[in-house]
């Protein structure tokens, strides 16, 4: 089926809008047509509001016509993962628990995108409460990978990655607790940035694991991601973990910071379990950095084998606490089959949550329970200190670390049914969350079967400008991001 194809990148689109070659309404109409054409096969969106998007676009055109344009995002449709609050729109976390929830307020990132003029377009599919690595845990059905609709887009921000890859939006926001931006970006062949913990406000983000969660952008290029980060980064008094730090002009810094960088290759990230085609593509990228004059050296992050266990203790503990609020009383699903108030909690939660969420609540409750707290939770928090130290130690020698993002390319929907097998998809991404670091997925090739491969660059805390510039040096010189899947 023929469907209109959008301009190639957000940056190119912004230039066309600024030059008056394209109106925001025309652009939004094209986005809506594209969405309608591919959604029956992709299911990247949980919902989208056509008339609301067109009204926002018309307002953007009116601003520009009056000489009051707000910059590169003004009039550009951007999708939001369905865990980020948009006032008067559904907010479901892909859960039956919140199937009928309408958000009474905007998240801070939503407020900031509005201020930048973006057309907030649709709520993107994800794993339920952002728990998963394949998007198969969505209560509304799994999103598909645009490169092969029989395969997963990754998760938990699978809809965000799929929508950008398929050209349904020019950029999107996701959230990343253990790899939920970077891994789907890798599996769908787009750029995805997980910022430093504290750079972007979490106010209005549905909480999964609060000490790890961070909102970040998806785009087709590193430059596009820099443009979106510009709009959402910065201190917010409504998130007490948000950090006061100077926000540079990220796009300008892409060109200003030219390296050469010292790049570390953590040997623990290239061992057993890594798909050989992915290993070879990442090696090619390393060779490219060498050709730019970068010094590349092997480094060690010795506590890497303990990241997965540390993550699943801390994340599930925090999740069990955060999800205690879903009790069927003030909002969310309320069971009609309860015999008294206490039974109402048990039944509402049983009916509202899916299997993976229940599993993680059980595990998290267990590791926090009396008699086990020290052995599991406290020990995991100490190992977390050691994991973070590993990274900071490595940064005494190098500027950035380069690894594969995912050990495997996109797998078939339904292929991995064992929870532990799915948890292993995150082995290269979770250390970054435990250490609070910024990291980015950049497309770096395709398998012989045509599935995208991504590399991960890990940067130093609050030095996104350096990380983006390092990533841009590769991204601008390669055309992996030019391939446009047509699902």
């Amino acid at each position: 089926m023929a469907s209109p194809v959008l301009p190639s990148t957000l940056a190119a689109t912004a230039a066309q809008l600024a030059a008056g070659q394209l109106s925001a309404v025309e652009l939004t109409r094209a986005v809506i047509a594209r969405t309608k054409a591919v959604e029956p096969r992709l299911r990247a969106f949980n919902s989208f509001d056509e008339s609301d998007a067109l009204a926002q676009a018309a307002a953007a055109d009116a601003r520009r016509a009056a000489g009051q344009g707000r910059g590169p995002l003004d009039g550009v449709p951007i999708g939001l993962k369905d865990v980020i609050a948009v006032k008067d729109q559904p907010l479901t976390a892909s859960s039956r628990m919140l199937a009928n929830f309408i958000s009474p307020y905007d998240a801070t990132v939503t407020t900031r995108l509005r201020a930048a003029g973006a057309v907030l377009y649709g709520r993107l599919n994800c794993d339920e409460f952002a728990m998963g690595s394949s998007n198969e845990n969505s209560a509304f059905g799994p999103a598909a990978n645009p490169c092969d609709v029989t395969r997963v887009p990754g998760g938990s921000s699978g809809g965000s990655a799929a929508a950008v890859a398929a050209g349904e939006v020019l950029a999107a926001l996701g959230s990343d607790t253990g790899g939920s931006i970077r891994q789907p970006a890798a599996l769908c062949g787009v750029v995805g940035l997980k910022p430093t913990y504290g750079l972007v406000s979490r106010y209005g983000l549905i909480a999964y694991a609060s000490s790890l969660d961070q909102i970040g952008p998806f785009g087709r290029t590193v430059e596009d991601v820099a443009l979106v980060l510009q709009a959402i980064a910065g201190h917010d008094e409504r998130d007490s973990t948000s950090f006061r730090t100077e926000i540079p002009d990220y796009r300008a810094e892409l060109a200003a910071r030219r390296g050469p960088w010292k790049i570390g290759i953590p040997k623990e990230y290239f061992g057993e379990g890594l798909d050989p085609e992915i290993g070879a593509a990442v090696d090619q990228a390393v060779a490219y950095y060498r050709s730019l004059g970068c010094e590349v050296r092997e480094v060690s992050l010795p506590h890497t084998p303990y990241c997965l266990d540390t993550y699943y203790i801390i994340a599930t503990a925090e999740a069990s606490s955060n999800l205690a609020r879903y009790d069927g009383i003030r909002y969310g699903h309320r069971s009609q089959n309860a015999k008294d108030i206490v039974d109402l909690y048990f039944q509402s939660r049983a009916e509202g949550f899916g299997a993976e969420v229940k599993r993680r609540i059980i595990l998290g409750t267990y590791v926090l329970s009396s008699g086990y707290y020290d052995a599991y939770y406290l020990r995991a928090q100490k190992v977390r200190t050691l994991i973070r130290r590993d990274f900071l130690e490595a940064y005494r020698e190098v500027d950035a670390l380069l690894t594969p993002t995912s050990p495997v390319p996109a797998f078939k929907i339904g292929e991995k049914s064992d929870p532990l097998a799915l948890y292993l998809c995150d082995i290269y991404t979770i250390g970054v969350n435990l250490a609070g670091l910024p990291a980015i997925n950049v497309p770096c090739g395709f398998t012989r079967g045509g599935l995208p491969i991504g590399l991960q660059l890990i940067g130093q805390p609050f030095r996104e400008a350096d990380l983006l510039a390092t990533a841009h040096a590769y991204d601008r010189a390669h055309d992996w991001n030019q391939r446009r899947p047509n699902p």
Partner: protein, 96 residues
């Protein structure tokens, strides 16, 4: 953590206020048993003298001036309540 972990699924589900079917109990106990078995390897890490990290960066109390400002109107706050009456959430009888 040295002995094989035993997860009492009934006890933990009760703590979590989560009703599970017999099938869910059997499946989750088996799946989480293998996850807990994997987690056992953390016992091998030497953590003596290591401080725990609750966050990646030291987070201190953040204070704001105690100044009243507008919040959500009652209608907006109650918009998603499953049952409401006279600006209040209706719940099943708590006291017999």
């Amino acid at each position: 953590m040295s002995s094989a972990p035993q997860l009492d699924i009934d006890h933990v589900a009760r703590l979590a206020r989560l009703a599970l079917t017999p099938e869910e109990k059997a499946t989750f106990a088996a799946q989480l048993g293998s996850v807990l078995h994997h987690i056992e390897q953390l016992a091998r890490v030497d953590v003596s003298g290591v401080e725990p990290s609750a966050h990646a960066f030291a987070v201190n109390n953040v204070w704001q001036d105690d100044v009243a400002r507008p919040g959500l109107p009652v209608e907006a706050a109650l918009r998603n309540a499953p049952a409401q009456r006279d600006h209040m959430v209706v719940v099943p009888k708590v006291v017999e």
